[in-house]
């Protein structure tokens, strides 16, 4: 018996403390049975709520973030007719235009791929213990703790 891929050992949610390439993540989602692929990218914008931003820092509670991220991808794989899904989230210092988060989903059909990709990024934003520390053009900086 040859185990080509063991479900337990594949990480579907990854925290990266440095800039990462999308291509090697995307290619792992390609399958001959998948006709649709949807990806989301979150970039660092030059403003937030009308305030000019210079950059930001993401901090994570690593153990819990990785566990919660895997749980979200598992939920997506169970709830939607998709083939595979991945998410990579940056930590550390980011500048304007840097890639902060990437989500990729492959599926036989586009409907499931769109819905699952949206589900994953929404859940990651609301549940995974990662915090954004923004630096503003006026010299101020602050943690973002959004109201529900």
């Amino acid at each position: 018996m040859t185990i080509l891929e063991s479900r337990e050992t594949v990480k579907h949610f990854i925290l990266s403390d440095a800039a990462f390439d999308i291509a090697p993540q995307r290619v792992q989602l390609l399958r001959d049975s998948a006709g649709a692929f949807v990806s989301f990218e979150g970039w660092v914008r030059d403003h937030n709520d009308g305030r000019a931003a210079h950059g930001l820092r993401y901090e994570a509670y690593t153990t819990l973030a990785e566990a919660e991220g895997e749980r979200i991808i598992d939920e997506a794989l169970n709830q939607f007719s998709i083939v595979d899904a991945r998410c990579v989230h940056r930590t550390g210092d980011l500048a304007i235009g840097d890639l902060a988060v990437w989500v990729g989903v492959s599926a036989a059909h586009r409907d499931a791929a769109f819905h699952a990709c949206r589900f994953i990024i929404d859940e990651v934003k609301s549940r995974v213990p990662i915090w954004k520390h923004e630096r503003y053009a006026d010299g101020a900086s602050d943690w973002l703790h959004p109201q529900p």
């Binding site: 994570a60 988060v101 915090w131």
Partner: protein, 80 residues
């Protein structure tokens, strides 16, 4: 007395001035424990805006505080 390690993140870490501490407490549950630490460090975030995790998994506020626990209070997240 129970001895636990408490982890602080984001604005809680800034307010506490540290990323973790080992404390002795008489608190029976996590809700009471946060109340004690909120008084001690002057945390602005109220309990209704937080979640709590023990040993790397989310748990309930009424859960008991057990010796050796690693407790983390989770401020509203802002990833993505």
């Amino acid at each position: 007395m129970t001895t636990v390690t408490v982890l602080y993140f984001a604005s809680l870490r800034d307010a506490a001035g540290m990323s973790s501490e080992v404390i002795e407490t008489n608190a029976n549950d996590l809700r009471t424990l946060y109340g004690e630490l909120q008084s001690l460090h002057g945390f602005v975030l109220t309990i209704d805006r937080l979640r709590v995790a023990v040993d790397g998994a989310f748990v309930g506020w009424n859960d008991a505080v057990c010796s050796g626990n690693e407790v983390a209070f989770i401020p509203p997240v802002s990833g993505g």
